[in-house]
């Protein structure tokens, strides 16, 4: 390319003031902030739960309390291991191009979906261990297990209510993430199609506008092309 033409082209590109779609950028920044807050929260939980149960076991020595402390540390270690593995490479986009932002959002979405499965498994394990421990060590009078589990006391009621709320929230969060992931994958597809042939630019631009609200928000826009859904 002639150098002056090249310089003019660069000049035009430089002054174009390109923007990453602001909603995409804001979403990634918000997620990054939430990840940092989550890291702090995880640390606090580790210190409070792990430290608390350990101190409790040291202050009142006994096999049952030692078991609680060991189990707590086991669950915490599992949670940390999972978090460290799934969050690796998810803290910042790998490059300056918009595609990297989309790619990062997709990987974060997938990690969040995997975390829902892990969270459900961990929660069930913790509840099972907790109930088992309480049933074995702190009941005044022996009761049949099933009857004890069936709303026999306020503590059991609270456990079931919390379980119900946790799984309700988990299902809602999973649905939201699935919608977001579908939307992001569609955008990535549109982006790849657009860069391949240079056409359909206005359509792709409109696709960014609805993100990250998902399909429903985009569907409600009048005059939308059905193939974007």
């Amino acid at each position: 390319m002639n150098t002056d033409i090249e310089l003019e082209a660069w000049r035009e590109q430089w002054q174009t003031d390109p923007v990453v779609p602001p909603n995409l950028r804001r979403n990634v920044e918000r997620q990054s902030r939430l990840m940092k807050i989550g890291l702090i929260a995880d640390t606090v939980v580790t210190v409070v739960m792990g430290g608390g149960t350990t101190l409790w076991a040291l202050r009142f020595p006994g096999t049952d309390r030692g078991l609680v402390a060991a189990a707590t540390w086991f669950f915490l270690a599992a949670a940390w291991l999972f978090a460290l593995v799934t969050k690796r490479g998810l803290w910042a986009p790998s490059a300056i191009d918009t595609a990297s932002f989309v790619d990062l959002s997709i990987r974060r979405c997938r990690a969040a979906l995997a975390a829902t499965w892990f969270g459900a498994g961990l929660f069930v394990s913790e509840v099972a261990f907790g109930l088992g421990w309480v049933y074995k060590h702190s009941l005044q009078e022996p009761q049949p297990l099933l009857r004890w589990l069936w709303f026999s006391s306020l503590r059991i009621d609270i456990v079931w209510i919390c379980t119900l709320a946790f799984f309700g929230a988990l299902v809602w969060y999973r649905q939201r993430k699935k919608v977001e992931l579908t939307c992001l994958l569609t955008l990535r597809g549109e982006m790849a199609g657009q860069t391949a042939d240079g056409s359909d630019r206005q359509e792709s631009q409109s696709a960014w506008d609805g993100w990250p609200l998902g399909r429903r928000a985009r569907r409600s826009r009048p005059g939308r092309d059905k193939r974007q859904i």
């Binding site: 150098t3 090249e6 310089l7 660069w10 000049r11 590109q13 430089w14 002054q15 174009t16 003031d17 390109p18 923007v19 990453v20 602001p22 950028r25 990634v28 920044e29 910042a92 986009p93 790998s94 490059a95 300056i96 191009d97 918009t98 595609a99 990297s100 932002f101 982006m191 657009q194 860069t195 240079g198 630019r201 206005q202 792709s204 631009q205 960014w208």
Partner: protein
């Protein structure tokens, strides 16, 4: 009664008038050069928050220097000279180089619309990334050239001779060309 000098009221009036004039001047400079200064700040930084911090520093430095501006050069030259000095300070302070991941930099878009489509964004992202990878001395010359400045104005901003500008610009263009080619 004989007036020996201006009264305190007059001095205060003049001071407030001066301040208002400086404020107007400051706003005019930022309005005229805001997007270009934002692009310049982006060329020295690799994250949005750092870019915003640097832009803030530049604005403060312009505000502080404005009362001493006597019009020896254009407002644009004045603003860019300060901005580049701040940029160099920033690089020296943070030692920001292309070691970490480069975050997407959003810069002010004065005319969003059909023109600001994805393909243009990607090309401009690529250029921005390549410019950021240039050594500072070349980056300064090329960013000013891309802002439509001539040799004379660039030499005034950077405090180097016009021939030096030419030499640096040629080298910067060559390096930038290579970087853009390597990104393909």
């Amino acid at each position: 009664m004989v007036e020996i000098g201006p009264s305190i009221g007059t001095i205060l009036d003049r001071a407030s008038l001066d301040r208002a004039a400086v404020e107007q001047h400051f706003e005019r400079i930022l309005a005229a050069n805001g997007p270009a200064l934002s692009r310049l700040a982006a060329s020295y930084t690799n994250t949005i928050s750092d870019r915003d911090d640097l832009l803030q520093e530049i604005a403060v430095a312009i505000w502080q220097a404005l009362p001493r501006f006597r019009g020896e050069c254009s407002e644009r030259t004045f603003a860019f000279r300060i901005a580049h000095n701040r940029g160099i300070n920033y690089v020296t302070r943070t030692r920001t180089q292309v070691s970490g991941p480069i975050e997407e930099i959003e810069v002010h878009d004065p005319a969003p619309g059909p023109e600001s489509d994805l393909a243009r964004r990607q090309r401009a992202d690529k250029l921005r990334k390549a410019v950021y990878r240039l050594p500072v001395a070349y980056r300064q010359v090329i960013t000013l050239t891309l802002e439509d400045m001539g040799y004379k104005e660039i030499s005034e901003v950077l405090g180097i001779s016009e021939s030096n500008v030419g030499v640096r610009l040629n080298r910067a263009r060559q390096l930038l060309h290579d970087l853009m080619e390597n990104q393909k």
